[in-house]
């Protein structure tokens, strides 16, 4: 009661405010909340205003406003009632009936109309009543003949395809489904079958009915494709839809013959057009989803020729096929098509990004030993697929391929890859339309691997890419620390040294050797480093700077400095600031260590030996250290002075390769 008492004043205030600003909709909302006694007072004022607003909105065809008014008025029909005039009431309720927007609202308003209409115009009253009761779909015989409504006229022609929206009741059982699709086909044609079944029935029916519907769509799709009045792409379009349904149908055996016929039709109708290609691919996809037809679908798909104009969707369909059957031959086809697409895109509007699904697919294929074993049987095919892998291989994919499958590739293919690399080196980078930089880098890495394999020096060692090396630097150092013996440590260092393609990484390896391996070994790989970069002034400069940073025995650094100075003389050319600085410091280091010694003073005649003084007692070690600063050369054998320019731990801060 208290709540009611509280609501009434606020409803009254809202009602009065709405009336003051002549907002009929708000007034109706507030009116609904008024207590009955106040409604009786308000109705005579509000009623005429509502009726005139309705008439006005109807005249102006404001259907949305009328719909809102109908929703408000349905709870207060007394506002439409004209005292003593049922005709006036019907006249006010009529527009709201048609604009109600919902048949529930219309059903509440209908009695206001039919109270008068039933007596005055029984035929119209019956039609309106049937219309409301059947939710807008009464029997045709109950509707009166209106001008322009000829009961014998055929249904209006409708545009075929997706624009078609026919409301046909959903079949409830599989038996009904079969007949309903046949009826649709017979009365409206193939487009209606696809449209009604695909968009109206399939989403709302049970699994059994849906399966029959799909099988029926396949049947009528094939039927439409056989139609002699159709040709080319027009014939293939039904096959596209039919194959889509066939892929999702669970009764594969029921449509097996239809799927085969679909493939035959698609093969026969194939004109390399877009739709024809899609039809064939989808038909093969549908066949691949049936275990009994999978092998034949794979064989056909693996031999597919590219369509006239390859689209990304065509390539994606190959991927979809592969996800069903995992037949790696499809990847080769997809890559061929992708290259064509990419070339076309390059000619038209620039480079095309490789889609993520193609990259991940390539990654999987790169590590698929079974596939590469198969490929290795045919050197030519192996070579072309290898080049295809390179053309879009990600670094990870190529690493995987090298780690697992490189040994499977025959020598001829390896040689061809190397030749291809040489060809590419002489070409302009933009001629081919591919991302040549990455292609070249992958080729380089592969041919580098090929050389290693042929020399046999690293046949059993895992190869690491420079990028991975920088990431694994810490790990390698930890490996060196964890080595049980010097040979093992050397092995780790050598792997690090050989794997690194840049002077900086190689210099780091030498530095680690200086710290952890024997002097002889440090000299060995240090000398190798000098030879390796002898013709590369910048590389030597970077390595020299790197060696200066670390605790490397001076003779090695000196040798490096000399080589750098020689290379600078022999190979003239513009030098970067860093290289010039390195050359200067190499010059000063060499000068410092080759300073001519002052001529020795002539030997004085030997003095007779003085008797030995008795030995003083030895001071403790710590005291000795404090008394005299240690010389760097003390830690090493007498022939190996050390250049110490920085603390050992500072070495780890250098991240770049120069």
């Amino acid at each position: 009661m208290a709540r009611k008492a509280k609501t009434a004043p606020s409803a009254r205030a809202a009602y009065e405010a709405a009336m003051a600003r002549r907002d009929v909709t708000a007034a109706l909302g507030a009116y609904a909340r008024l207590p009955p006694d106040e409604k009786q007072v308000a109705a005579p004022t509000l009623g005429p205003i509502v009726r005139s607003t309705v008439t006005d909105a109807h005249r102006k065809k404001k259907w949305e406003h009328l719909r809102v008014l109908a929703a408000e008025v349905q709870g207060a029909p007394d506002l439409l009632t004209v005292p003593g005039s049922p005709e006036g009431t019907a006249r006010a309720a009529w527009p709201l009936l048609w604009a109600a927007g919902s048949f529930d609202v219309a059903a509440r308003l209908a009695p206001l109309v039919s109270a008068w209409l039933g007596g005055a115009h029984p035929r119209l009253a019956r039609a309106v009543e049937a219309w409301v009761k059947s939710s807008g779909a009464p029997e045709a015989s109950l509707l009166p003949d209106l001008p322009g409504l000829d009961s014998h006229a055929p249904p209006k022609p409708r545009p075929p395809g997706k624009g078609l929206r026919v409301k046909v009741p959903l079949p409830a059982t599989p038996a009904e489904a079969k007949g309903a699709v046949a009826a649709l086909y017979a009365s409206l044609g193939w487009e209606a079958v696809w449209d009604v079944v695909g968009f109206q029935w399939l989403p709302g029916c049970g699994a059994a009915v849906a399966d029959v519907l799909r099988c029926e769509v396949v049947r009528w799709g094939v039927h439409a494709a056989l139609d002699p009045s159709r040709g080319g792409d027009d014939r293939s379009q039904p096959l596209v839809y039919a194959a889509t349904c066939a892929l999702r149908a669970t009764s594969k055996a029921a449509i097996r013959d239809d799927v085969m016929l679909m493939i035959r039709l698609a093969l026969a109708a194939r004109t390399s057009g877009r739709v024809a290609t899609e039809a064939l691919q989808r038909a093969l996809l549908a066949a691949a989803s049936d275990p009994a037809l999978r092998a034949i679908a794979d064989d056909l798909a693996a031999g597919l020729a590219p369509p006239e104009k390859v689209s990304a969707a065509d390539v994606e369909l190959l991927h979809e096929h592969w996800t069903l059957t995992r037949d790696a031959r499809l990847w080769s086809v997809a890559i061929d098509w992708w290259r064509i697409l990419r070339q076309a895109a390059h000619a038209a509007y620039g480079l095309l990004d490789v889609p993520p699904w193609l990259l991940s697919w390539t990654r999987e294929i790169a590590g698929d030993t079974d596939y590469w074993r198969q490929q290795a049987k045919d050197s030519q095919r192996c070579e072309s697929t290898l080049l295809a892998l390179l053309s879009l291989g990600t670094e990870e994919a190529v690493d995987r391929f090298i780690a697992r499958c490189w040994d499977l590739v025959d020598d001829r293919a390896k040689r061809r890859v190397a030749e291809h690399e040489a060809d590419l080196l002489t070409e302009e980078p933009e001629d081919d339309g591919f991302a040549e930089d990455s292609f070249m880098s992958f080729l380089n890495r592969l041919t580098g691997r090929a050389r290693e394999m042929s020399s046999g020096s690293f046949a059993r060692r895992k190869r690491l890419s420079p990028k991975l090396l920088s990431r694994h630097e810490r790990l390698l150092l930890a490996e060196v620390d964890a080595s049980d013996n010097a040979a093992e440590a050397r092995d780790v260092i050598e792997r690090f040294y050989r794997g690194g393609g840049t002077p900086r990484i190689a210099a780091e390896a030498v530095a680690i050797a200086a710290r952890d391996a024997s002097n002889a070994y440090t000299h060995l790989i240090g000398s190798d480093l000098v030879v390796r970069f002898a013709r590369d002034v910048d590389g030597l400069a970077v390595a020299f700077t790197g060696l200066l940073t670390y605790n490397v025995p001076t003779p090695l650094v000196l040798r490096f400095a000399k080589t750098l100075l020689q290379a600078d003389e022999v190979l003239p050319g513009p030098r970067s600031t860093k290289t010039a600085a390195a050359i200067t410091s190499a010059g000063s280091l060499v000068a410092q260590h080759t300073k001519p010694r002052a001529p020795k003073a002539p030997k004085a005649p030997k003095a007779p030996k003085a008797p030995k003084a008795p030995k003083a007692p030895k001071a403790p070690k710590a005291k000795r250290a404090a008394a005299a600063p240690a010389r760097p050369s003390e830690a090493l054998p007498p022939d190996e002075p050390v250049v110490r320019t920085q603390q050992p731990h500072a070495r780890r801060r250098g991240g770049s390769d120069g």
């Binding site: 029997e139 009961s151 046949a182 092998a295």
Partner: protein, 121 residues
């Protein structure tokens, strides 16, 4: 030119082994082994060739595609007759729907006075 196994059996290419069997046993009385050994051998050869699913599939794919014959065969199927019978129902349904839509479109635009004038009693 040698006839394909499906043609020997007198059936359209199919993957259905049951259909192959039925066709074989239907043709057998026409080529009894004792009376027509050559015909029987041909029939038996075709039947044997179609035993494996892969063979049926590849022979189906390689069989010549006579679109007109296929269309005729399809059109003659019982489903089409069924569709024709169902057509009446379907068209009636559409016609009723069409009329209802038109009825709504016409009447909603009229006032009650105009509607009663338009619709005969």
């Amino acid at each position: 030119m040698a006839e394909g196994p499906f043609a020997v059996l007198g059936i359209a290419p199919t993957l259905d082994l049951g259909a192959v069997k039925r066709a074989y046993f239907a043709a057998l009385p026409r080529h009894p082994p004792h009376a027509d050994p050559a015909g029987f051998a041909r029939l038996r050869g075709a039947y044997d060739a179609l035993q494996s699913p892969t063979a049926r599939a590849s022979l189906t794919l390689s069989a010549p595609l006579d679109l007109a014959a296929l269309w005729a065969a399809r059109a003659a199927e019982a489903e089409l007759a069924e569709a024709r019978a169902a057509r009446v129902t379907s068209v009636e349904l559409l016609r009723a729907q069409e009329r209802a839509e038109r009825f709504t479109d016409v009447l909603r635009a009229l006032t009650l006075d105009e509607a009663v004038t338009l619709v005969p009693r």
